[in-house]
C-alpha cells in the first residue's frame, strides 16, 4: 500500500475500463451452478454454461487479484474552490 501526498493536485486513479461487476458476476455464476446442479439441460447446453462460467471465473479472478489500492492524500486546506 503506497501513500502519496499530492498537494492541491487532483489525482485520479484510473481503473480498467472493462471492470467486472463482481456481485453480478458471482450472481450469474451461482445461477449457472444451480442450473448445472438441477441438470435440466442437455450436454451441449451444459458445455456452453461451463465455458461461460470459466470466462466469468477468469475475469473474476483477474478482478479479485488486483494489487493493493493506493491511498492518495490531497491537502484540501489550500484549495481555491469557492462555494
Amino acid at each position: 500500500m503506497s501513500c502519496r501526498f499530492k498537494g492541491t493536485e487532483t489525482v485520479r486513479l484510473r481503473m480498467g475500463s472493462n471492470t467486472v461487476e463482481i456481485g453480478d458476476t458471482i450472481t450469474r455464476l451461482e445461477e449457472i451452478a444451480e442450473i448445472l446442479e438441477e441438470g435440466a439441460v442437455d450436454l451441449e447446453q451444459a458445455r456452453e454454461l461451463r465455458e461461460e462460467a470459466d470466462e466469468h471465473l477468469e475475469s473474476l479472478r483477474q478482478e479479485l487479484d488486483v494489487g493493493d489500492g493506493e491511498i492518495i492524500e490531497i491537502d484540501g486546506a489550500s484549495s481555491d474552490d469557492e462555494f
Partner: protein, 455 residues
Amino acid sequence: MADVGDEAAIEPPVDAAWSVTELNDEINSVLADANQRFPTYVIGEVSDVSVYDFGTFFDLRDLDGEATISCIVWSYQRDSADYDLTEGVETILRASVGFYVDDGRTQLTVQNFWPVGESERSQNLAALRETLKSEGLFRDERKRPVPEYPRSVGVVTSLSGSAREDFCEAVHSRDSRIAITVCGATVQGEAAVQSIISGLRRLDRDPSIDVIVVTRGGGADVDLWAFNEEPVVRAIADCATPTVVAIGHEDDETLAEHVADQRAMTPTDAGVAVSPRIDRARQSAQAVERRIGVAYADFVESQLTEFERRIDAGVTGIEQATVTHRAVRQRASDLERRVSMAYDGLVDSRLTELDNRIDDAVRAIEHDAEQDAVTVRAARSRVKGLERRIDRAYQSRVQQEIEELDRRIEDAYREVEMDETIAAETTEARRLRVVVLALVLVLLGLVVLLLLGVL
C-alpha cells in the same frame, strides 16, 4: 509559569522543574483559594448530554461563541430537579468549579438547573431541518445505493485525525484493492464549511471515484456543528456520486447524515459500509467455482453413466436378442430334428405298421388262402365224398330205383301179363323212367352247383 522564550538552547534547570502532580496540586490550591471569585450561576446551551446511573455529564456551551465547559450533575441532585437537561436548550446552572488533580481537568459540579428556552442555534437548526425535509432531501426515495464493489473511494476528512486512519484501515482490511483518495479538510471551526465543501466538489468531479465518504471522529456538539451548516448539507445532497456520511459517534446526529445516501456511525463503520469483504467475495468465487466444477462433473458423469447404461442396456438387449435368436434357432433346429425324427419315426412306424399289416394281411391272405385251400381241399374232398356219396346214393338209388323199377317192371310185367293192365304198367314204367332221368339231372345239377359254391 515562567516564560522560557528563547531559552531552549540553555541547559534546563532540572531541579526547578515541577512534576505534573505538583503542578496540578498547585492549580487545585489556587482555585480553592479563589473560589469566592467564581459566580454561583452560569448560563449557556446544554449539549452532549450523557446520562449514567450515578449522574449526568454534559457540556455547557457559550450562547454567542464556541467556548464550552464540562459539567456533571450527580444523580441525587438530577433526580430531585424540577426539569430535565435537554440538548440545545439554554439553561441556567447553579454550580461550583471543580478541579481534578489526576487529569488536570476543570469541571462544573451542578447543584441545580433551570431551562430558559431553546437557544437561537437550536431554533435555527430546527428550522433548517424542516426546510430540508420539506424539500424532500431526507426522503428514502432519493437515496442511491452505494456500489457493492467500489474500486475507488473518495473521503473528505481531516488528514491529522484518527478518523482517516480508522477509515483507511477498515477499508483495506476488508478490500485491499480499493484505491482511497483522501481529501484533507478542516472538519471543525470557522473554516470547516468551506473546506468540507471544497473537498466534496473536488471528489465529485473525479469520474473514477465510485463513492464519497465524509467523516470525522467524535467530539462535542460544537465540534460537529459544521455538518449542520446548510451549505455543507446541501453540498452533500447535491453530489452526483453516492455519499456516505459518518460524523462522531453513534449518539451524534447531524443534518449531513440525513441527506447522505447512507449513514454510518463512525469512520470505521463508514469504511465497512463502502468496502465489501473481498475475502468473502473470493470465498464466494471459490465456492461457486467448486460448485460449478462439481455440478458439471456430476452432470457429465451422470450423462456418461446414462449413456453407458443405455449402451449396456442396448448391448444386453442385443445379447439377449442374440441369445433368444440362438435359442429360437436352436429350438427350431431341435424342432426340425424332432420333427424329422418324429417324421422318420412316424414314417418308420407307419411303414412298419403297414409292413406288419401287409405281413399280417399277407399272412392272413396266406392263412385265408391256406384255409381256402384247406376248404377247397375239404370241399373237393367233400365234393368227392359227396360225389361218391351221390354216386353211391345214385347208384344205390338207381339201383334201388332200378330194383324198384325192376320189381315194378316185373310187377308190371306180371300185371301186363295180366290183362289189361300190362299196357298201363308199361306206360307207367315209361313215365317213371322219365322221372328218374329228371332226378338224375337234378342231382347232377346240385353237384355242379355245390362244386361251384366251394370254389
